[in-house]
């Protein structure tokens, strides 16, 4: 069982509403601000990208459904700042306790932004886990989509693709395993593959028989088919 964010294949969301190519990047000023605050706080170095994804995903289903996109970001961030001890509940309540924060020396300065964004954060790592599958090989995903290390934890196998038979399209190398990294259990890098699934494997009424969905899946999500 996964969480509310895992919505691939869900019914009932209505039409997709395209936007003009020249629509503003941030529809509201606070959207840009929410993005920037979130990125800047990330540079304090108190969490990794998988932890921050998990913080958004564990918003309550009610909040996740009613919040707009950047409300999820900013609310996930507030929760994370408290969870990691950067801020206290008193801080969020606005109780005035200004003064030197032990992390202030890590604060991202304006002149460092360009380099910090350009540097990125690659997720590939050397791994001692042996590559088990080759291109073209038939595989099956685990029957239940779930984090195997932490009950209710972060995982990247969407529910719609669990228990499905596919074939290995390519090996992406060895990457950090989010199921472990999101819970500070180590990066646990292992082989990551692009796996192609026929739509007839995924859906009761596939839209077109020759279409496919490709997912990036870690080796531990897969078994030989």
């Amino acid at each position: 069982m996964t969480r509310i964010h895992d919505m691939g294949g869900r019914f009932g969301d209505g039409s997709v509403v395209p936007e003009a190519e020249d629509a503003p990047v941030f529809a509201e000023d606070w959207h840009g601000r929410a993005l920037a605050v979130t990125l800047a706080a990330g540079f304090l170095g108190q969490w990794n990208i998988d932890i921050s994804r998990h913080a958004r995903e564990k918003l309550s289903p009610k909040d996740y459904a009613r919040f707009s996109y950047y409300e999820k970001w900013i609310s996930g961030l507030a929760d994370l700042l408290v969870d990691k001890g950067v801020l206290t509940l008193e801080d969020l309540r606005g109780v005035d306790r200004d003064g030197d924060h032990p992390l202030a020396e890590r604060t991202l300065k304006a002149e460092a932004v360009a380099d910090a964004l350009a540097k990125g954060g690659p997720a590939d790592r050397p791994s001692s886990v042996e590559v088990r599958f080759e291109t073209g090989q038939a595989v099956r995903t685990l029957g239940q989509s779930a984090n195997r290390l932490v009950e209710g934890g972060h995982t990247r196998l969407p529910a719609y693709a669990s228990g499905a038979k596919g074939r290995i399209l390519r090996l992406h190398g060895t990457h950090v395993l989010p199921d472990s990294n999101a819970h500070e259990l180590g990066e646990a890098p292992e082989p990551l593959y692009a796996v192609a699934f026929s739509t007839s494997e995924l859906w009761a009424n596939p839209e077109h028989p020759s279409d496919e969905v490709v997912l990036d899946l870690w080796q531990s999500y897969l078994e030989p088919a």
Partner: protein, 204 residues
């Protein structure tokens, strides 16, 4: 309180989203954890410096130069990095080519993963529940909502970005674009054509 504070500290901030952001920014700034000028710089970067024009440059170059295209399809990350397109949310790039036989389309059903260094910040629809839910199950109906109808014998391959790999679609070069310069070609490459929900403009 509507929430348990310990599980949902965000409920302590003002509920109105613009005020919620402002409140958190203010708290972090007063503690010296955020430099407001750095926020301006981040916003300026994604509003004005990094956007779909980067991806359009890559596509136009691939249309103009077969060797570049072959290298791009083989190892996109290093090829686009050589053009200066590397960074956050673009550390592992894969470019997938549209052909008469196969049309590619990109989604992130779990969140909003998107190749920032090449396309910038994703448009609202890309992050919407409707797109995330439906692109994998009924891509042709979604394409129709963008005004795109594919030939019945063109298969659709939808890439669900479930890891840190970021995908860019290389659209087919439009008919009538022979003899155009790389710059003129780039002007035909719309953002949606690089996500797979649109097609390049046809030269008039």
């Amino acid at each position: 309180m509507p929430h348990d504070d310990h599980d949902h500290p965000h409920a302590l901030l003002p509920p109105e989203p613009a005020l919620r952001v402002k409140a958190l920014e203010t708290i972090l700034t007063r503690k010296g954890l955020i430099d407001p000028a750095a926020l301006d710089e981040i916003i300026d970067t994604y509003q004005n410096k990094i956007g779909p024009q980067n991806g359009a440059h890559v596509v136009a170059k691939a249309w103009s130069d077969p060797d570049f295209k072959a290298a791009l399809l083989e190892d996109a990350t290093s090829v686009v990095a050589d053009l200066g397109y590397y960074g956050r949310q673009g550390e592992h790039m894969v470019v997938v080519e549209n052909t008469p036989e196969q049309h590619n389309m990109v989604v992130c059903t779990l969140c909003s993963c998107y190749p920032w260094p090449l396309l910038g910040i994703p448009p609202g629809w890309y992050k919407s529940d409707a797109y995330r839910a439906r692109a994998v199950r009924e891509p042709r109906k979604v394409l129709a909502e963008f005004g795109v109808t594919l030939p019945e014998d063109t298969s659709v391959r939808v890439w669900d970005s479930t890891a840190e790999i970021r995908y860019l679609v290389l659209p087919m070069r439009p008919e009538g674009s022979e003899g155009l310069s790389e710059e003129e070609l780039a002007a035909l490459v719309i953002r949606d054509s690089m996500i797979g929900t649109g097609l390049p403009k046809v030269p008039s």
